[in-house]
C-alpha cells in the first residue's frame, strides 16, 4: 500500500518536512513493528524478532527505541526522552528534536505530562501512571548472552526455561565479592516465565517495573528484538533466599535538591578528588528543588 505523506507532520514546528511520512518510518515497517509489539505484549518478557531498519543515527544511540516510538506514536502524544535520567543530554535532546520535526508532536521534559517516554537506562522517579507508555533503548536484549554466545542455544534455553546459568552467574558474584555485585542490567523474571534483561537500568529501578501501571516496551535496534511488559505484570529480580535482592542506597542526599529517595550520580568536581552526588533524574531534581524552596 503506498503510504501517503501525512500533511500535519512538520506543521506544528513550521518546518517543511512533508517529504517524510509521519514519524519518519514507512507504513509497512510500522505495521511489522506493531504486529511484533502485540505479540510481545501477549508473551511478556519474550524477545520477538523484528525486521529492524536503519535509522538516521548509529546503533547504540537508541535506534531500537526510536523504531518502537515511531511505530507507537500518534499526533496526540506528548513525548519525553531521557538519557540516564537526564532530559538535556545530547542523545535525549536529539531524539526529542527528531520526533518533534518528523512527527510534529508535542514534547516535554515533565514526566507527569508525557504519554510516551523513551528512555536510555533509567525509569523516572515520578511514579508512572495508567495510559503512559515507556520505551526502553536496549543494547543487548539477551540476558543469557554473556554466558552463552550462541543465539540458537539461548533461544532453546528460553524455550526450555533453562535458567540455571543465570543463577550461577549471580552465585559467582557472591563467591567473589561476598554479595551480588551486579548493579545494572540486573536480570528479572517476567510473569514467572521468561528471564529478561531490563536494559542497563541501575538495579535501583528494577522494583519500579513490578506491577507498573504503565505499558513498558523494549526495542533493541542492532539485535533486532522487541519485548514488552504489560501493565500490572509481576516482575521479580532474581536472587537467593540468603542473599535477597537489594537496591543501592546513598549516605548523602542530592547536593542540588536534597532528595533522599532518588538515584544519585557521582560527579567529580575538581582534580583533587572532590565530588558531589546529584539526582540522575533531572526533572525530578528540578521539581524537588522548587518544592523545597517554596517551603
Amino acid at each position: 500500500m503506498p503510504a501517503p505523506t501525512s500533511k500535519a507532520a512538520g506543521q506544528a514546528t513550521g518546518q517543511s518536512v512533508v517529504s517524510y511520512n509521519f514519524a519518519y518510518m514507512d507504513e509497512q515497517t510500522k505495521r511489522m513493528i506493531r504486529r511484533s509489539l502485540l505479540k510481545a505484549v501477549a508473551i511478556p518478557g519474550y524477545q520477538v524478532p523484528f525486521g529492524g531498519r536503519e535509522m538516521p543515527m548509529p546503533y547504540g544511540w537508541g535506534t531500537g527505541g526510536m523504531q518502537v516510538s515511531a511505530a507507537v506514536m500518534g499526533k496526540e502524544d506528548v513525548f519525553k526522552v531521557i538519557d540516564q535520567g537526564s532530559d538535556d543530554t545530547t542523545n535525549a535532546v536529539s531524539i526529542r528534536a527528531f520526533f518533534a520535526r518528523v512527527a510534529g508532536i508535542r514534547t516535554t521534559t515533565a514526566t507527569v505530562e508525557a504519554t510516551l517516554i523513551q528512555t536510555r537506562h533509567r525509569i523516572p522517579e515520578q511514579a508512572l501512571r495508567e495510559g503512559q507508555i515507556m520505551v526502553y533503548q536496549v543494547p543487548i536484549p539477551e540476558p543469557l548472552r554473556w554466558m552463552e554466545p550462541s543465539e540458537a542455544e539461548t533461544r532453546a534455553m528460553h524455550a526450555l526455561e533453562e535458567y540455571g546459568v543465570m543463577h550461577v552467574k549471580l552465585y559467582e558474584d557472591i563467591a567473589r565479592h561476598g554479595e551480588i555485585a551486579t548493579s545494572f542490567d540486573y536480570p528479572v523474571l517476567v510473569n514467572k516465565r521468561y528471564v529478561m534483561s531490563p536494559s542497563p537500568l541501575p538495579k535501583f529501578d528494577n522494583p519500579k517495573m513490578n506491577q507498573c501501571p504503565a505499558l513498558q516496551l523494549f526495542g533493541a535496534g542492532r539485535e533486532k528484538r522487541i519485548y514488552a511488559i504489560p501493565p500490572y505484570t509481576t516482575v521479580t529480580s532474581l536472587d537467593f533466599e540468603d542473599y535477597p535482592f537489594a537496591v543501592q542506597r546513598w549516605d548523602v542526599p542530592c547536593a542540588l535538591c536534597g532528595a533522599t529517595d532518588s538515584y544519585l550520580d557521582e560527579i567529580i568536581t575538581d582534580d583533587t578528588g572532590a565530588r558531589m552526588f546529584v539526582c540522575s533524574d533531572t526533572d525530578h531534581c528540578a521539581r524537588h528543588a522548587v518544592a523545597r524552596d517554596m517551603q
Partner: protein, 223 residues
C-alpha cells in the same frame, strides 16, 4: 463501461491505522477491559466482515500476513477489500494464518486448529479477530486474571462480558492457557450496539496470558 468499484478505506490512512493499533495495543495490555475504537473505515455492504474487523485488517495486515476467513466473513466484497488495501494472501488452512477473521464464532474451528507458535518462536501464532457481543446487559460474563489485570498479584479478577461464543470456547481457552507460552491470542470486536443503544465499536483483548474462569466458584490452575 461499468463504473469501477469504490473501495474506501481509512479517511486518513496513517493516523487512523495508528489510532486502531493503539486501541488494539490497549486491549491486549488490559485484558477484559473494553476499548473503544474511535476511527472506522466505511462498512462493507454484505456479509459478516464487520467494520471493526475491517479497521483491524487495514491497520495490521499486509503482504506478510496470511489471512484465514470463516465462511461468514469470506465474501467477494471482503476479499476485494483485503486484496486492494492489504495485499494479504488468503489461506484455507487456519494453521497457516497470521490473522483469522471469524464473523460467526458459533461455527468456528477449535482453537487448537490455529497456528500455535513453536517453543523457540511462540510469537509465530495466529491472532484471532472474533465478532462478539460485548454488551453487559445480555452477555455471558466471565472473570479473568493475569498480566494487565490490576490487582492480579492480590488475587483480583476482571469481569468481562463476551457473548456469542461456542459452548466449548472457554474449555479450549483453558488448554490454550495451559500451553503457554504457545497459543493463540484473541481480539473480540463488538458488532455494534451497546447497552445504551449508541452504536460504538469496542475491542476486548484476550492475550494467551489471560487466565479465565466462568464462575467465581472455579479454582483454575492459575490461582
Amino acid at each position: 463501461m461499468s463504473t469501477l468499484p469504490t473501495l474506501p478505506g481509512f479517511d486518513s490512512p496513517v493516523d487512523d491505522a495508528q489510532a486502531v493499533f493503539r486501541a488494539v495495543l490497549g486491549a491486549f495490555s488490559r485484558p477484559g477491559l473494553p476499548v473503544p475504537l474511535s476511527v472506522l473505515p466505511p462498512p462493507l455492504q454484505v456479509g459478516g466482515f464487520s467494520q471493526g474487523m475491517l479497521a483491524l485488517a487495514l491497520a495490521l495486515c499486509d503482504k506478510d500476513t496470511p489471512l484465514w476467513l470463516d465462511a461468514a466473513a469470506d465474501t467477494p466484497e471482503a476479499r476485494r477489500h483485503l486484496r486492494f488495501h492489504c495485499a494479504s494472501p488468503l489461506t484455507e488452512q487456519p494453521s497457516e494464518a497470521s490473522f483469522a477473521f471469524i464473523a460467526k464464532p458459533e461455527s468456528m474451528p477449535r482453537l487448537g486448529a490455529f497456528k500455535q507458535g513453536r517453543a523457540d518462536f511462540p510469537d509465530r501464532s495466529t491472532t484471532l479477530v472474533i465478532n462478539a457481543n460485548l454488551s453487559a446487559s445480555q452477555a455471558q460474563t466471565v472473570e479473568l486474571t493475569g498480566p494487565g489485570v490490576k490487582g492480579n498479584d492480590r488475587g483480583l479478577w476482571q469481569r468481562a462480558s463476551i457473548d456469542g461464543l461456542p459452548a466449548w470456547f472457554w474449555k479450549d481457552w483453558e488448554a490454550n492457557y495451559a500451553d503457554y507460552p504457545l497459543g493463540v491470542d484473541v481480539i473480540f470486536v463488538d458488532t455494534g450496539t451497546d447497552a445504551s443503544s449508541t452504536p460504538q465499536t469496542r475491542l476486548l483483548g484476550l492475550p494467551r496470558t489471560a487466565c479465565v474462569r466462568e464462575t467465581a466458584k472455579e479454582r483454575p490452575a492459575c490461582m
